[in-house]
C-alpha cells in the first residue's frame, strides 16, 4: 500500500471515529399512570404543555440520549433547543428541563416523581408508562 493511500484511509478512520453516535431507539416514558399523547411530547419538552389535568408535568433531559431526542423528536439541534428555552424562560418565567446523566438516573427520577417524563435509550422495565418509541 502506498503511503499516500494509507494516510487517506487513516484520516477517514479518524474522522469516522470522531462523529457523534446517535442512539438507535428511544423510549419516551412517564411516571406510572401519567399518559400524555405522543403528539404532546414536543409541547411538553418545550414548555408549552405543563399540566396533564391537575398533574404538573416535569420533563427531564437525558444527557446521554439528548442528541438523538432532539434530532428524532423535536427536530432541532442543541443550539436551537437552548435558544428556544432561553426565549421561553425570559418571556414566561419557565425553567428548562433538568438534565440527568443517563438512563438509570432518568428512570429513577420518573419512578419517584409524579408527572415526571423522560426519554431513554433502553426500553424501561415495569413501573413507568411508556408513551412512545422512536
Amino acid at each position: 500500500m502506498q503511503p499516500k493511500h494509507a494516510i487517506w484511509i487513516f484520516s477517514l478512520l479518524l474522522a469516522g471515529n470522531g462523529a457523534a453516535a446517535v442512539a438507535d431507539d428511544l423510549y419516551l416514558a412517564c411516571h406510572a399512570g401519567v399518559s400524555i399523547a405522543a403528539t404532546d411530547v414536543r409541547d411538553v419538552f418545550l414548555g408549552e404543555k405543563q399540566f396533564l389535568n391537575a398533574v404538573r408535568l416535569v420533563p427531564v433531559d437525558n444527557m446521554a440520549a439528548q442528541p438523538a431526542f432532539l434530532e428524532k423528536v423535536l427536530k432541532m439541534n442543541g443550539i436551537k433547543y437552548a435558544t428556544t428555552w432561553a426565549k421561553k424562560s425570559f418571556r414566561d418565567g419557565v425553567n428548562p428541563p433538568a438534565v440527568m446523566a443517563n438512563d438509570a438516573a432518568v428512570l429513577e427520577f420518573i419512578r419517584r416523581t409524579p408527572g415526571g417524563c423522560g426519554y431513554l435509550e433502553m426500553e424501561p422495565a415495569e413501573g413507568v408508562t411508556v408513551i412512545a418509541k422512536y
Binding site: 503511503p3 499516500k4 494516510i7 487517506w8 484520516s11 477517514l12 479518524l14 474522522a15 471515529n17 470522531g18 462523529a19 457523534a20 408549552e48 404543555k49 405543563q50 399540566f51 404538573r56 416535569v58 427531564v60 444527557m63 442528541p67 432541532m76 442543541g78 443550539i79 436551537k80 437552548a82 435558544t83 432561553a86 426565549k87 424562560s89 425570559f90 418571556r91 414566561d92 418565567g93 419557565v94 425553567n95 428548562p96 428541563p97 433538568a98 438534565v99 440527568m100 446523566a101 443517563n102 429513577e108 427520577f109 419517584r112 416523581t113 415526571g116
Partner: protein, 440 residues
C-alpha cells in the same frame, strides 16, 4: 508535487476530523464530570462503610465492658448492623428526594437559577441616543425566575443601564408573581410588559435574544424614547388553548394608568393618586402544521394618562393594533401596525389620530442572519400624549443589518440605518453601529 498534494490532503482530513470530534469532546467533558462525581460518591460510600464498621467495633467494645448485661449488650451489638443499614437507607432516601426536588424545580441545579444579558456597542451614533457616538455600554440585565411550587411562578428582571450623562441607572423592569391555574390560564400581578402586539412581549431587555440590533424606535422602552406604554403595573391573565390545527392565545390586563413625567412615560409602579387606569387585551392565533410558525393577532388598550404639565389633566389613549410573526428555521418576519385615537378628557375637543408600524424581514442563513426593517410613525403633534413626550415626533427609518451567532450565547450585530424626523424638529441622520450581546 505529489508529496505536497498528499500533505494538503492530510491537513484537510485532520482539520475535518477535528471539527467532527468537537461534539464528542464536549460530550466527553460532561462524561468526565459525571465520572468524577461517581468516583466521589464511591469514595463517600466507602467512607460510610468504614465508619459503620468502626462504630460497630466500638459498640461491641462498650458491650464487652459491661458485666451483668454483657450477653444482652452483645446481642444489641449484633443487631446494630440492620439498624445501621436502615439508617443508611433513610439517608439515601433523603438524598434522592433532595435530588428529585432540585430536578422538579427545573434548571438542574441547586438554588435559584440566575440568568442575565449584557451588551456593548460602538458606532457613529449610540443605538438609542443619536446625539452620542463612539463606544457605549448597553445594559446589564439580571433575570431571576425561581420556581416556588407547582402553581406559583415568579419573574424578576433588574436592569442596569448607562444614561446619556454616562451615569448608571437601575430599573426593576419586571417584577411579577403569578399563579398558573393550568396551561390555559396564568394570572400575573406586578409589573409586566404590556401585552400589545407581538414584539413587546416576545423580546425583552436582553438584546441577545432579539434578531435586530435595537428595537423599533417607537417601541423603545419608555426611558429610551419609546412612545408606547411598554410596562404596566397591574394584573394580567394570559394563556393558550390548543385547537385542531393551532393554538389560540389570549391576554387580558388592567393596571395603573401611566403618566407622562419629564417627557417620558412613567408606569407608576408605586400606585396612582387618581382613578385613572389602563386596560386591554390581545388575541392571537398560532398556526400548526399547515402554516407552522405563523402567528397573527389583534390587540387593543385604553389608558387614561395624566401628566406633570397640567394638574388634573387626563388624556385618554385608545390604541388598536394588528400584527403577524412568521418564525421558522429559515425566516423571521415580523410586522405590526397601530392606530391611536386620543382625546383630552379634561377640555374635550376633537380626537387626534396617529399611527405607527414596522415591517422586519429576517433570513436565517447558515453563517449569519441578515435583516431589513422599515419603520414609520405619523404622530399628531396636537395630541397631548405625543406632544408631551420628548421623542414623540413623527419619523421614518430604514435599516439593514446582519446578526452573527458566534456561539449559542453570544451574537455580533451590525446595522446601517437612515432616520428622518418628519415634524417638530425636522432632521435626518445615518447610523453605522455594532453591538456585541451575550446571555448567561
Amino acid at each position: 508535487m505529489r508529496h505536497f498534494h498528499a500533505l494538503v490532503g492530510w491537513a484537510i482530513c485532520v482539520l475535518g476530523s477535528y471539527c467532527l470530534t468537537q461534539p464528542t469532546f464536549a460530550a466527553d467533558s460532561r462524561d468526565d464530570r459525571v465520572t468524577v462525581l461517581e468516583e466521589k460518591l464511591d469514595r463517600s460510600l466507602k467512607l460510610i462503610e468504614q465508619l459503620t464498621v468502626r462504630m460497630r467495633e466500638l459498640e461491641v467494645q462498650l458491650a464487652n465492658k459491661g458485666t451483668a448485661a454483657a450477653p444482652a449488650q452483645s446481642a444489641a451489638a449484633a443487631e446494630s448492623s440492620p439498624q445501621t443499614q436502615e439508617r443508611l437507607e433513610n439517608v439515601e432516601e433523603q438524598l434522592a428526594q433532595l435530588t428529585d426536588a432540585n430536578a422538579a424545580r427545573g434548571g438542574g441545579g441547586p438554588g435559584v437559577p440566575l440568568h442575565g444579558f449584557a451588551d456593548v456597542g460602538i458606532g457613529n451614533h449610540n443605538a438609542n441616543e443619536p446625539e452620542l457616538k463612539g463606544a457605549n455600554v448597553g445594559s446589564l440585565d439580571i433575570f431571576l425566575n425561581p420556581q416556588l411550587g407547582e402553581h406559583t411562578r415568579s419573574l424578576f428582571e433588574l436592569t442596569f443601564e448607562v444614561n446619556e450623562h454616562g451615569q448608571v441607572e437601575s430599573d426593576l423592569e419586571r417584577a411579577q408573581l403569578g399563579y398558573q391555574f393550568s396551561d390555559a390560564a396564568t394570572l400575573w400581578i406586578g409589573r409586566f410588559h404590556t401585552p400589545f402586539g407581538y414584539y413587546n412581549t416576545a423580546f425583552h431587555h436582553g438584546q441577545q435574544i432579539a434578531t435586530s440590533l435595537r428595537r423599533p424606535r417607537f417601541l423603545l422602552f419608555e426611558d429610551q424614547g419609546g412612545v408606547m406604554p411598554n410596562h404596566t403595573v397591574g394584573a394580567w391573565l394570559t394563556g393558550a388553548d390548543h385547537l385542531s390545527d393551532g393554538k389560540l392565545t389570549y391576554d387580558f390586563f388592567v393596571g395603573n394608568g401611566q403618566a407622562i413625567s419629564s417627557g417620558s412615560i412613567d408606569a407608576r409602579a408605586g400606585g396612582v393618586d387618581r382613578g385613572s387606569a389602563i386596560y386591554g387585551g390581545n388575541l392571537g392565533y398560532l398556526f400548526g402544521d399547515t402554516l407552522d410558525g405563523l402567528k397573527v393577532g389583534v390587540s387593543a388598550f385604553r389608558s387614561n394618562i395624566s401628566d406633570d404639565q397640567q394638574t388634573g389633566r387626563i388624556t385618554r389613549v385608545d390604541n388598536a393594533g394588528v400584527y403577524f410573526a412568521y418564525d421558522t428555521d429559515r425566516f423571521e418576519h415580523i410586522g405590526e401596525f397601530y392606530r391611536f385615537n386620543d382625546s383630552d378628557r379634561t377640555l374635550g375637543g376633537p380626537a387626534h389620530r396617529s399611527s405607527a408600524g414596522f415591517l422586519q424581514l429576517g433570513w436565517r442563513l447558515p453563517l449569519a442572519m441578515p435583516y431589513l426593517r422599515y419603520e414609520r410613525a405619523v404622530l399628531d403633534q396636537n395630541d397631548n400624549y405625543f406632544a408631551l413626550q420628548a421623542e414623540g415626533m413623527s419619523y421614518f427609518r430604514t435599516a439593514v443589518g446582519v446578526r452573527f451567532d458566534l456561539d449559542a450565547k453570544s451574537a455580533l450585530k451590525l446595522e446601517l440605518a437612515h432616520t428622518r424626523n418628519t415634524d417638530r424638529l425636522i432632521e435626518q441622520w445615518n447610523d453605522a453601529m455594532l453591538d456585541y450581546a451575550i446571555r448567561f
